[in-house]
Amino acid sequence: MKTAGNHGPPGAAHIFWLVERQGIVLLDPRRNRQLHLAYPEAAVWDLLIRRWPAATMRAMLAVIAGIGEDEAGRLIAACLDRWRTEGWLKEPGAAS
């Protein structure tokens, strides 16, 4: 059977994610919730879980979103902040 991506955790151990036609959907089965990420946030998630080095990730996101690298850096920071706050990513060093 062919299934859409059902991926392991980039951060919190119980978070899964699916690549959709438009963006990415994060799934949290424990709390029965989901979060749709449109672009460019979807790209931030994908680059993050592929573990690109921070500088490369910033450069890639700048090209993807058509923005400067500084702005790309701020966008990444904002996404990380939000996803950690909302429990989609674990805090560095925290148990999942």
Binding site: M1, K2, T3, A4, G5, H7, V19, R21, Q22, G23, A38, Y39, P40, A42, A43, D46, L47, R50, W52, T56, A59, M60, V63, I64, A65, G66
Partner: protein, 479 residues
């Protein structure tokens, strides 16, 4: 206007559309652009010949019986005038060549993986091409954004591929386009990466040359080991993702006898959408490695068996030169406004290395993308390439000219190429005839043809299929 209601000036300039060729002890008569084909015996062919030959402008053929008159009317239909070569740009797809580098060293590769063009494309260049393309599509009112990645091996240059994938998705969303991403790959990458490929690409063309012994001989890895284990693993992983998997199998003398087994294994193990069997294109490297293209008659017989096997499993078999509508354009992207961007910013309609087509006296460049992101398309070059299939002397009397149209302009029907049919032509002629017979429900006739080498040669090597070139008495009169 002529009898079929077609402007006679345009029709007179059009390529021939009425053909007849021997199939065992009968004749296959066909008009490919009209979608008409029939298998007739000698007496019927003689009557058709006299009627059509003597009355080219008559609206119908009163001297014939009803059935033959209907057939003659259908066969005599003139093709619609082709679209003007000066129509606005309508790219078949945007191609990206992220790099010519490759992580394996295929014995038969002529894509320039070992050449000097191994630099990776800059992500900014890829983005500029994609941005132009999305805006162009929206402005032109086209809804489908189709982006193909070629190599080398594209996934050697992951930074540019991933950037281009996400940029394409962002642009498609922004411009309201339906995105189709396609990649041609050797499948030699770590298993975790297959999920990315399967998630983001709508279609993956993966090279797998059958079983391990032959695949590893065809496609050795750089360290001297084979690449089969990784390619097979990738195929199995991709089979579990939403992507459409097309397996491309290069056929040489080593695996031509295994096509049916390979087809069965592919269908059961990987459930692909399509299987493409592609005969080896010989070159100096393949010769040095002892790899030879298969005998074309043997290939056709073996392909026919594999073809039947794949159809039984609901998988689409592909032999590119017999695919597609009878539009008079080749399966090749050249002439269909394909825009393929190289790492150096050249835009071509061909994904082969520039040196390969320059060597054939062809210029397949159609534009340029500069470092500032300015893209320029040379419409004169586009129009010139659209007209390439019109000038194929070898194809002028071949019934395949409406679908095959000369195949690859670089390998098969380049300027000055021999006028005699080459193995590619022999395969294409036989498989095209079989396809017509099968479409008429005459699979048994096709099978009989393929079991008779003499009959195959009579069809494949016939210098002219033009109906008008039929001799007065193509078959003996019935007693």
């Amino acid at each position: 206007m002529n009898a079929a209601g077609v402007d006679s000036t345009a029709a007179d300039k059009a390529r021939p559309s009425l053909f007849a060729l021997p199939v065992n002890d009968a004749f296959l008569v066909c008009n490919p652009p009209a979608g008409v084909a029939s298998l007739v015996n000698g007496p019927a062919l003689r009557r058709l010949r006299r009627a059509i030959g003597q009355a080219p402008s008559a609206p119908s053929f009163p001297a014939l019986s009803d059935d033959l008159r209907q057939l003659a009317d259908l066969l005599a239909r003139k093709p619609e005038a082709p679209p003007a070569a000066t129509e606005p740009l309508h790219p078949l797809f945007l191609g990206l060549l992220p790099t010519r580098s490759c992580n394996i060293r295929c014995t038969y590769c002529d894509f320039g993986a070992d050449g000097p063009q191994a630099a990776a494309m800059s992500p900014a260049l890829a983005s500029a091409a994609l941005t132009w393309y999305a805006r162009f599509l929206e402005d032109a009112g086209h809804g489908r954004m189709e982006v193909h990645f070629f190599g080398g091996e594209p996934f050697v240059a992951r930074e540019v591929v991933e950037t281009a994938v996400h940029r394409s998705r962002l642009l498609a969303e922004r411009h309201g386009l339906t995105l189709h991403l396609e990649v041609s790959t050797n499948g030699v990458f770590e298993p975790e990466y297959a999920q990315f490929v399967g998630d983001y690409f709508q279609a993956v063309v993966l090279s797998l040359d059958g079983f391990q012994e032959v695949h590893d001989r065809h496609r050795p890895a750089r360290a001297g080991r084979g690449s089969f284990v990784q390619a097979r693993q990738t195929a199995a992983l991709l089979a579990r993702t939403p992507t459409e998997l097309c397996l491309r199998c290069c056929v040489s003398t080593l695996n031509v006898h295994q096509l049916e087994e390979i087809a069965l294994w592919f269908c059961k193990k990987f459930q692909p959408s399509a299987i493409n069997f592609e005969p080896l294109t010989g070159n100096a490297r393949t010769l040095a490695a002892g790899l030879l293209p298969p005998d074309p008659y043997l290939f056709v017989r073996q392909y026919a068996r594999a073809h039947a096997q794949t159809l039984r499993h609901g998988v689409r078999p592909v032999y590119a030169a017999t695919e597609g509508d009878p539009s008079g354009t080749s399966f090749c992207p050249v002439g269909k406004d394909a825009l393929i961007v190289s790492a150096d910013g050249r835009i071509s309609s061909c994904y082969l290395p520039q040196a390969a087509w320059l060597e054939r006296g062809l210029d397949l460049d159609v534009g340029r993308l500069d470092a500032q992101g300015h893209l320029r398309i040379d419409m004169d070059a586009i129009v010139r390439l659209r007209r390439l299939p019109e000038d194929k002397p070898r194809c002028a009397r071949c019934f395949c000219q409406w679908v095959c149209s000369g195949g690859c302009h670089v390998h098969h029907t380049y300027p000055g190429s021999p006028l005699t049919y080459e193995p590619f032509c022999i395969q294409t002629r036989l498989l095209s005839a079989c396809r017509l017979l099968e479409e008429m429900g005459l699979g048994a006739v096709a099978e009989a043809l393929l079991n008779d080498r003499q009959a195959m040669e009579a069809l494949a090597q016939r210098p002219s299929d033009l109906f008008e070139d039929l001799p007065e008495h193509p078959l003996p009169e019935a007693p």
